[in-house]
Symmetry: D2
Subunit: 346 residues, 4 copies
Amino acid sequence: MIRFDSDYMEGAHPAVMEALVRNNTVQTPGYGEDEFCERAAALIRERCAMPSAAVHFLVGGTQTNRTVIVSLLRPHQGVVSADSGHIAVHETGAIENGGHKVLPLPPKEGKISGRDVEALCRAHFSDASFEHMVQPGMVYISNPTEIGTVYTRAELQELYAACRERGLPLYIDGARLGCALVSSVCDYTLAEMARLCDVFTIGGTKLGALFGEAVVFTDPSLARDFRYFIKQNGGMLAKGRLLGIQFEALMSGGLYEDIARHEVDLAMRLRAGLKDKGWDFLVDSPTNQQFPILPESVLDTLSGDFGFSRWQSMGGGMTAVRFCTGWAAAEEQIDALLARIPEKQP
Amino acid sequence: MIRFDSDYMEGAHPAVMEALVRNNTVQTPGYGEDEFCERAAALIRERCAMPSAAVHFLVGGTQTNRTVIVSLLRPHQGVVSADSGHIAVHETGAIENGGHKVLPLPPKEGKISGRDVEALCRAHFSDASFEHMVQPGMVYISNPTEIGTVYTRAELQELYAACRERGLPLYIDGARLGCALVSSVCDYTLAEMARLCDVFTIGGTKLGALFGEAVVFTDPSLARDFRYFIKQNGGMLAKGRLLGIQFEALMSGGLYEDIARHEVDLAMRLRAGLKDKGWDFLVDSPTNQQFPILPESVLDTLSGDFGFSRWQSMGGGMTAVRFCTGWAAAEEQIDALLARIPEKQP
Amino acid sequence: MIRFDSDYMEGAHPAVMEALVRNNTVQTPGYGEDEFCERAAALIRERCAMPSAAVHFLVGGTQTNRTVIVSLLRPHQGVVSADSGHIAVHETGAIENGGHKVLPLPPKEGKISGRDVEALCRAHFSDASFEHMVQPGMVYISNPTEIGTVYTRAELQELYAACRERGLPLYIDGARLGCALVSSVCDYTLAEMARLCDVFTIGGTKLGALFGEAVVFTDPSLARDFRYFIKQNGGMLAKGRLLGIQFEALMSGGLYEDIARHEVDLAMRLRAGLKDKGWDFLVDSPTNQQFPILPESVLDTLSGDFGFSRWQSMGGGMTAVRFCTGWAAAEEQIDALLARIPEKQP
Amino acid sequence: MIRFDSDYMEGAHPAVMEALVRNNTVQTPGYGEDEFCERAAALIRERCAMPSAAVHFLVGGTQTNRTVIVSLLRPHQGVVSADSGHIAVHETGAIENGGHKVLPLPPKEGKISGRDVEALCRAHFSDASFEHMVQPGMVYISNPTEIGTVYTRAELQELYAACRERGLPLYIDGARLGCALVSSVCDYTLAEMARLCDVFTIGGTKLGALFGEAVVFTDPSLARDFRYFIKQNGGMLAKGRLLGIQFEALMSGGLYEDIARHEVDLAMRLRAGLKDKGWDFLVDSPTNQQFPILPESVLDTLSGDFGFSRWQSMGGGMTAVRFCTGWAAAEEQIDALLARIPEKQP
């Protein structure tokens, strides 16, 4: 069985694992107040060219989204999101459990625009009963999106301008951020993206760490008392050093980008192979998630030997599936998969 | 600097670390639905002699307490706890944030009794305005307690009988459970304790794991839909295997007890040494937390070289401090500490 | 200015007001434990032919919806509702503030069907990641709906069968229930409707009371501890007698139906008048809310002298507006309005 | 049966009732945006000599406390209160249900001091684990307190100074505020008290209204978006005019003070009568709640004919009970009660 179900099918990249082993017996204070976390945060601030950014480390993605979002909203406010956004669909209502409505926008290729946000705000504030409705309080996007697409610089600029116009913090969920940054369509650096939002995360789990998400508040005043929130939401790791050690490894010597590039390169190899065979895709994804549309008959022959997710039935016996490449994916695995998928019959 | 601040100052026990490294590249499904978690759960059910127990793994203690408690209460109910209980004091109001009041009882040596619980319930239900007050909905204890004391079998029996009489689930927070079980005062086994409560945890973080708490529902009907709760509360680890691998290692070949015994043995060495020197203790703890009462002048000379926590000022220049021994504590460290503490002047 | 903005533009029906004045100085216990509430509840149980139903009185609609819904759901569950449902749109996220997602279904003429509910449940439970999504936990409908339409007996039967099949309580928000029951399309009695759901409300505010909603749990076991919930959610009126006095008046001698009939008759008079003049309607409403589609030029001439709500722009200078008739509406008011609306030009 | 159980045993003061009847058929906009609410708010601002104060009207006390408190706190913050405070004891955990811990202080005669608050804050912020504990976020007091005592000007000044020093809004629950203001020990006016806090309420329910609490934000910036909060918390009355009409009546021509004076005068008559007979009191209350300590044998003879609340067992067969006088209490009722209570035997 070769698993392309997702990018968290194995443990950590060997360099990350090695750092954990090497530092295993060093004694440090708990709860993220150790030198590893400090150094990892410093590396991130440096990479963002933002000496004043506030950097925190949490364990998982849902936990991070929940914690960031409840820390930024007042109770009568909701978070604007694509209706396909992770917080809107796949976090068991963690945001609502935290008291807030997710205000859904219909996305285009997984993305929402400043124009969408402005229209939603205008509709809210021009309604005579606006106080009877949830007030838009912030904007959430994921980059890459849940279907692998990547915001362009122009799109981020337009979106962030709309957010600032309305006083809404913009939060970018970067669970797979590295894959966006190294993708062929990305026309900005990490430091440039940091200037186009108020908070973002750098995901570790899906890019070579055992676990871990770095949260970067580009405006440190938004991070006031954030450690209380981490604790209250169950995200403060006793051995917080584990997050520092891993992010120090990832942020040193370009490892994070190397892993991202590896994931995306293998996904592109898969994409090219499938395109050569004539198959169509649900969406044109430049990152490590690929969504080819394949016949059920082919999927049946694959399913004993390869792991993947059924994403969406397309009718006529065709299904869009997701193949996802992690840090440990290998060329031979891609080739083995391609070898089992026939050419599309015209 | 030798740190006795707490039992999470280092990484994992070498055997746990080795298991993580050894299985690093094995591919598994995510979110705890892997073979490691399955085997670890089976080992725990076996150790509890409870084939039908429901076992789940979460990352941290606050997260676990919050998730278990919100899954068991209805909104108008609160959780009864010693006023010194971890949930009452040191979880940044995670329980209240989840919507529930912690109903405090004054403990004796960190422990509460069935009689206390019954009195609280009687007071509630006999009050004319009972519907204007939070209804007791479950009972929380920690074992060992926050000050290292251990419930006896008779105490647990009396408490559990009171809980069952009132229909209140009893939840035991076993963040340091191993240390209770191996302590000289403990007169029950894990399997026996499992029959004296409805839910309990087996803490990994403080007993040799990088992180991880196993939750054991002795009545599996209480665990209905619990995985939804784990996800909603941000405790579902993408690489859930990490919890399975660690608990499989801990639950195999007596490692968990060996680590607990090591921690407690070293704590007893420290206790004996301090007693020999004539010092008193805040409480007589048979586990890996020791609370000697020392003069500020002595503490000042220690504080550059040894880590510990100031627990409570006792007046007259005396302070109760906490020394805590983890899996990596060594006899030489204890002896080095003892060497720096003078005999008490009569 | 003649206000058709809504059905809460005046105080109470004279008979209700008279009862309040008459009983003003009678002394009673507080918090709804008085003889008036008891008698009003008995009248409702009798009208429902349900001797075992649990009846409670709350002040307002949002409060009632919030209190009922949080009492029925566990934290990981959401409430299924038409996306146009009052709880989904016009309660400032009270349900989400209580921790629950509203799971929206696209309605037909404001109504949802058992088939819709079954499809949503099947999609949920057949998804591989179902535990990452909010579980459907109950179903909410309003009758009449937010656009005045009324469920038929067959529709309620089909919906309730689907709910029971899935174990989902069905809750009917009857803020304007009287208007549904007296409408020409209604083919069931109150007692019959009570057998087609698990909880419903009989709205007072919009049918002649100063305020007040009666909640009827047809299965009293669902009402366990409900008074705690009323108190916790701020709905327990100190002088609870006010609710009992009003509902006793409304439920005696057919007053509730008389008021409903008056409201609907006047709305029908308006509808007939507008139809005669050739105007179209957004929806064919048989109750006290009417949604004609009128030109902006006409609305401009009306807006100084008549109150109404702009509901939806229809394009081409046409707008659907809402006229709503309350207990105090008078034929002359309807005729005055009609006199100011010209015939539609062909 | 003559009820002294509480001050909400009857309906409204005749003048309030008369205003409701007189304005019953006037048409107004809903949800508190009517001319009555406007005039009532203007009268309150005038009485407070605070032209910029933000004034809102809600229905009940628990609802008001919950709504104000959740609007002022961030999720990691708690509200400091006497452990006997209404929010700490008698609101079914509405504050915790809203996500916040009530941080209890032991009161003296029902009151807390600035020194208490400062000590609690110092303890919090000087603790090494402060981020693991709930942060004090605001201070709640009731005036008069739950046992009828009244803050002096000096006490309020000292408390407010401590609050401002720590940046904590001070909120005064004035459910029976009128009784404090007219009491013999009160050395400030309403306008003066308004300058010694950030938010306070003027209770109507217990001072002659059918229901209703006016919330006064002395700093209007704290009231930002408060109407959203009222709606979300179920406190926005459709016929909001009812609150405006009642408060306009109460705030006109000194009616509110007249009612308060009546209530307090009758309570003083009762107090004097009981003192003459030699009875002791739980506390020396200068307002409309009196807490004499009486033998069970006497209480038994009273309980068929008089309503009162058993407050606290004092041992030795003695019980402190509460007698409460409302707007409708009459001298003859007091005298009838006194006639039935014997002199204390020496």
